[in-house]
């Protein structure tokens, strides 16, 4: 019994330590991010942010678009198979439009970015740690958080919402294609119905979620990189851990945000 309590206590302390570390790193990054901005910050840091934006955003475009199109088709087909029985196939438009804008667009994007860029962040920082590059930065009187994390975080904050909007567009477009081929609904009518279905608050809640997901992915993945101990095998473990933890936390955060928006907006 004592051992069980000891294990529970140790595990709780470890989890609290992890949450604390993420928050401390996040706070340090926010303090350093000003120096990463264009015009007012360090131009080399901004160049690094742009490089990261290309990697997180532009390189992920085909993958995010394809995922959104496939999911849009799946959602429309699954919805239609049930709604057709009640003669309500028209509601597929609302299902796809609202479902993507509020939920699926940001979530799919976050999962794609977590798998692609989260793992890359952890591997890059972990390798830098193993190769003493982080120590090298410190002895050059440079802060690894400002030099390594801040450009990645700024890039994630800009690109993840952009990718989410694109994901929304692709998903809704896939729904439109389905409606056109299954019910011969004209594209203009589909677009009109989409705009009638979604409200500004749906877009805003989706974007708020995207910003939160970007924060989780960047901070958790970078922290996993910093926590690398030992040799190259440890880098592999941290990469896996970064993807698993950031994906898990994104879904947890999504459920929390959805509950908050549901209870505050709908009631």
């Amino acid at each position: 019994m004592a051992n069980v309590l000891e294990d529970v206590g140790r595990s709780t302390i470890n989890h609290l330590d992890y949450v604390g570390s993420v928050n401390i790193q996040w706070w340090s990054t926010l303090r350093a991010i000003g120096n990463t901005l264009p015009f007012v910050g360090n131009r080399y840091r901004w160049q690094e942010s742009v490089r990261q934006m290309l990697q997180i955003g532009v390189d992920a475009l085909p993958m995010v678009c394809l995922m959104a199109i496939c999911t849009g088709f799946i959602l429309a087909m699954q919805g239609a198979s049930e709604l057709r029985r009640f003669g309500a196939i028209h509601y597929v438009i609302e299902l796809v439009a609202v479902g993507f804008t509020r939920e699926l667009g940001p979530l799919l994007t976050a999962i794609a970015v977590s798998g692609r860029s989260g793992s890359a962040f952890a591997a890059e920082i972990g390798s830098m740690k193993v190769a003493e590059e982080l120590d090298s930065l410190k002895v050059m009187a440079l802060e690894p958080i400002e030099f390594v994390v801040a450009p990645k975080y700024l890039a994630a904050l800009i690109t993840v919402p952009c990718l989410s909007v694109l994901s929304n567009v692709c998903g809704i477009l896939a729904g439109g294609l389905f409606m056109f081929f299954s019910t011969h609904l004209s594209p203009s009518l589909y677009v009109r119905d989409v705009f009638e279905s979604i409200q500004l608050r749906d877009v805003i809640t989706g974007l708020i979620k995207s910003l939160a997901f970007a924060t989780i992915i960047a901070q958790v993945s970078c922290l996993e990189g910093f926590r690398v101990r030992g040799g190259p095998d440890s880098v592999g473990r941290s990469t896996t851990s970064a993807v698993v933890k950031s994906t898990f936390l994104v879904i947890v955060a999504d459920s929390v945000f959805t509950a908050i928006f549901y209870f505050t907006v709908n009631h």
């Binding site: 830098m128 003493e132 120590d135 090298s136 410190k138 050059m140 009187a141």
Partner: protein
């Protein structure tokens, strides 16, 4: 006043004492070589001098500032006067060699890009890499990486130059070239140089003084001649390359006897 002063330094990892009550003064302009075998604590001492780790007790004064107690801002200020070349070179693979050297100049000075470019070229020329600035670290040989790391360490013309195992893993000719480079840099820049090594020829070539570490304690600190003449058994063992009796024959015999008895039973 010494430029670096280590006082009663104790470092422990998980209860295991790695540095045991060390005290050492390093004077302005001297080349101090920290000599010792693997696991003797020389790299740990170096990390303490660089403020990368906090000790269990004791102090490390660099230019009069106790870096074990000072604020982060003070530590940064002290670090600007130290140039470090790590054992693995630790060059940033995402940057070219010249960008690696230019990094601290861009971050810590307001010099015009053309001046920075000129200074980078000069630093690379001193280490014989002027034509290789556009290459990335992964395109360089081991010796070239070490020289690039030295050029980067020298970028801000620091008062203190720290070199961790500069000749480790290099062939004797390249290692000798690096020794000459260290001597040249010391003469040109009048820097205090701290070198961590276990290479005896290199140590005796470049050192003004040598501190010999063994199991976290100084066995001997003195000039090259004093160390060469030392009668301390551990210093003599290191200098004369006498192996430890790792394979304890009596223990191996006892184990085999016990094993055979167990097999027979």
């Amino acid at each position: 006043m010494p430029i670096i002063s280590v006082r009663d330094l104790v470092v422990e990892y998980d209860g295991h004492r790695v540095l045991d009550n060390l005290s050492l003064d390093i004077e302005h302009g001297e080349t101090m070589v920290l000599l010792g075998g693997s696991g003797s604590g020389k790299s740990t001492l170096l990390r303490q001098i660089l403020g990368l780790e906090r000790p269990k007790s004791g102090s490390v004064f660099v230019k009069g500032v106790d870096i074990t107690q000072c604020s982060a801002a003070e530590l940064k200020k002290v670090r600007r006067s130290i140039g470090v070349a790590f054992q693995s070179a630790a060059l940033f693979n995402s940057l070219s060699v010249e960008d690696n050297v230019a990094l601290t100049l861009r971050e810590h000075t307001r010099l015009a890009p053309s001046i920075i470019e000129l200074m980078v070229w000069m630093k690379l020329a001193v280490v014989g890499l002027a034509e290789f600035g556009k290459l990335h670290p992964q395109e360089l040989s081991g010796g070239m990486k070490k020289r690039a790391a030295v050029a980067r360490a020298m970028a801000l013309s620091p008062e203190i130059l720290v070199l961790d195992e500069p000749s480790a893993g290099l062939d004797p000719i390249v290692a000798a070239e690096l020794d000459e480079l260290i001597l040249l840099l010391k003469e040109v820049f009048q820097a205090t140089v701290i070198v961590v090594t276990h290479e005896l020829p290199s140590a005796f070539r470049i050192a003004d003084r040598i501190a010999m570490l063994y199991k976290g304690r100084f066995r001997s600190v003195g000039s090259k001649d004093e160390i060469k003449a030392s009668q301390d058994p551990r210093v003599r063992q290191f200098l004369d390359r006498v192996p430890d009796n790792i394979a304890q024959t009596s223990a191996v015999s006892a184990y085999l006897e016990k094993y055979l008895q167990a097999q027979e039973a």
